[in-house]
Amino acid sequence: MTEAMLLGLLLVPLLSALALALVGDRRLAPEVNILGSAVTFAASLRLAMEVHANGSFIGGGKFFFVDAFNISLAVLTAFVSLTTAIFSRRYMRREREHGRVGHYGMRFYHAMYQMFIFAMLLCLLTNNVGVLWIAMELATLSTVLLVSLYRTPTAIEAAWKYFILCGVGIAQALFGTVLLYFAAERVLGEGGDALLWTNLSQVSGQLEPTVLSLAFVFLMVGYGTKVGLAPLHNWLPDAHSEGPTPISAVLSGLLLNIALYALVRCKALVDGATGTRHAGNIMMGFGILSILVAAFSLLRQRDIKRMFSYSSIEHMGIATFAFGLGGPIATFGALLHMLVHSLAKSSIFFTVGHASQMNGTQEMSRIRGLFKGNPLVGWGLMLGVMAIVGLPPFGVFTSEFLILTATIKDAPAAAPFLLLGLGVAFAALLRRVQPMVSGAPPPWQTPLKAAHLPVLLHLALVLALGLYLPVFLSDWFRTAAELLR
C-alpha cells in the first residue's frame, strides 16, 4: 500500500507530463494539469498519513526513503503545485489571449510544469545522493526554457544566466558528491548502496572527516547556488522576474526549499562525521550574508517581481542560518519557516501576477489603487506582505520568533545582524506596498477576474499556522529536528 502510494506520487506527475505533451494546447489542458496535480497531492497526503502512523520507511528496494522531514516537504510541494496549477489556469489563459504565449508555448508550459514537479518530488523521496543530484539538475533543466517562455530579450538573458550559473553551481555539487562517495565507499563498499542516505547516516562516525569537510565546501557552493544564497544569488532575481508568474511562484515557493533540503541532509552527515560544527558554521555565514545582502537590495528595486525574489533570498538566508545554528528550537523554527515562507511567498506571487496583468506592467511606480481596482488582489497583496515581513499573528512571525530566540541563546553575536536584516526588509516591503494598494486606480488599469481560491487558501493557512500549530505537524517537525541532530 505504502509502496503503491510512493510510486503513484512519482508516476502521476510523470505521466501527466507525457499526456500534456501529447494533447498539447487543447481547451482542457489546464484542467488536466490541475487534475494531475490534485491526484499527486492526494497521494502525498495518503503517504503522509502512513508515515504519521508507522514512522519512516524505506521502499522500492532501498531506492526510496520517507521520513518526517522529506514527507512534510513532499506534501508542501504537492499542495503548492496544485494551487499554482489552479492559479495558472486563469493567468495563462489571459497571457494567451494577450498574445504573449503561443500555441507551442502553452503545450510546453503544461508538460514542463508537471515534469518540474516530478523532478522535485524525486529529489525529496530518493534515498540515493547521486539520484538526488540528477533530479536537481532535471528540475533546473525543465524550468530553464519556461523562464524564457516569453522570448523577450530580457527573458532570454535571464534564462541563459539561470542555465549557466545553476549548471556550474550544480557541477560543484557533483564534485562534492564524488568526494562523498569516495569516503563512503571505503566504509560501505563499492556500488550504489554506498550512496544511500540511510546507510550513510548509520556510518557517519566512520567516514573520513578531512574528505567530508572538503566535500561539504563543494556541496555548499553547489546546492547553495540553487538555494539562492549570497554571493551566489545573481541568477535568482532575473529568473524570477522574467519568467511567467506561476513559475516564479513555484521557483520561490518550492525549488529553493528542495535545494535547501539537500544541503541540510549533507550538513547533518558532515557534522556527524567530523564531530565539529564546521558545516553548520559555514551555513550560518552564508545565511547571515544572504539576509543582509537581500534586505539592502530590497530597498533599490523598481520591478515588483524582482523585489519579492530578493525577499525569497532573505527568507532562504534565515532558514539556512537556522539550520546551521542547529539545536531543537532553531531546527524546528527553520522547518516551520520553510513551510510558511512557501505558502506566503507563492500567494504573494499569485497576487503580484494579477496586479501586473491589471496594470499591464511590473513597474511598481505604475501599479496603483489595487484596493479599489480589485479588493481581492489589493488585500491579498497587503496581507501577504504583512505575513512575509513577520507581523503577528501570521505563521512567519512564529518561526522567526523561534529562530531569534535560539539565536540569542546560542549565538548572541549573530542576533544584531539578523535583527538588522529583518528590520530593513520590514521597512522596505511595507513602504513599497503601501502606495501600490491605496489611492485611486490609474486610467490604464483594466478589470480582471482573479483566481480567488489559491490566494485565500494560502493566506488562511499561513494565518492558521500562526495561531495554532496542529499536533501532527509539530510532532513531525520535532522528529525531523531529532533526525537532523
Partner: protein, 221 residues
C-alpha cells in the same frame, strides 16, 4: 596488465587531458575548440576503459562507451551543425588576454594539487594521482566560461567542466554507481538540446551569440 603500467598509462592520459584543457583555453577558433573537446572526450573514454580493465569494474566499460558516443561523437557533431547553421564557424572571438588566462590556469592547477593532497594520501587506488588533474580540469573549464564572451564557448567550457567531473569520478572511486552515471549522461543530453534551442533564440533576438549583448537586466536604479 600490471598495476604499475596501468598507473603510468593513467598518469600519461591525465597529462594529455590537462594539456587539452590548456589548449582549449588558448584556442581562438571555434572549430579548433570543438576538435579539442572531442579529443578530450576520447582520452577520457580510453582512460575509463583502461581503469575498468585494471580494476575489473565492468560497469566502467559502459561508461566508456557512453562517453565515446556522447562526448566524442554526438556533442561535437551537434556543435558543428549549430555553428554551421548559425554561420559562426569562422568567427575568431575576442579573448581576454591569453597569457594572463594561462597564468591563472597554472595557478588553478597548483591550487588543485594543494586541495586534493589529503585525499591522495588516503587513497590506495592506482588512479589516485589523477584526482588533482581532474579538479584542475573542472576549474579550467570554469575559467574558460568566465573569460570567454561567446555563448558557444561558454557551453564548451561547461562541457569541459563536466569532463573534469567525470574524470574525477573515475580516478577517485573507479566510477560512480552505474545508475548515477547514466542519469548524469541523460542530463547532459537534455542540456545539449536545451542549449541548441537557446543558441537559436539568442541568435534570433540579439543577432549575435556574444553574451556581452545580454546586459539589460541590471541591479536597481
Amino acid at each position: 596488465m600490471n598495476p604499475e603500467l596501468a598507473a603510468r598509462i593513467n598518469s600519461f592520459l591525465a597529462a594529455l587531458v590537462l594539456l587539452t584543457a590548456f589548449a582549449m583555453l588558448a584556442q581562438r577558433r571555434m572549430n579548433g575548440l570543438i576538435h579539442l573537446f572531442a579529443w578530450q572526450g576520447l582520452l577520457l573514454s580510453v582512460n575509463t576503459a583502461i581503469v575498468g580493465y585494471v580494476a575489473a569494474r565492468h560497469h566502467l566499460y559502459i561508461s566508456s562507451l557512453l562517453t565515446l558516443a556522447l562526448k566524442v561523437v554526438a556533442l561535437p557533431y551537434i556543435l558543428h551543425v549549430l555553428i554551421r547553421r548559425l554561420r559562426i564557424h569562422k568567427e575568431i572571438e575576442v579573448v581576454v588576454n591569453i597569457p594572463t588566462t594561462m597564468l591563472a590556469g597554472i595557478g588553478l592547477v597548483v591550487f588543485s594539487y594543494q586541495l586534493t593532497s589529503p585525499i591522495i594520501q588516503l587513497s590506495t587506488m592506482v588512479t589516485r594521482s589523477t584526482l588533482a588533474v581532474a579538479l584542475a580540469t573542472v576549474l579550467l573549464g570554469l575559467l574558460m566560461m568566465i573569460t570567454r564572451r561567446h555563448a558557444v564557448t561558454q557551453i564548451i567550457g561547461f562541457l569541459a567542466l563536466e569532463n573534469g567531473l567525470f574524470f574525477a569520478a573515475t580516478s577517485a572511486t573507479y566510477g560512480m554507481p552505474l545508475v548515477v552515471e547514466l542519469g548524469v549522461a541523460l542530463d547532459i543530453l537534455i542540456a545539449a538540446f536545451i542549449f541548441g534551442i537557446f543558441f537559436f533564440h539568442i541568435h534570433a533576438t540579439f543577432e549575435s551569440l556574444d553574451v556581452e549583448q545580454m546586459a539589460r537586466l541590471k541591479e536597481g536604479e
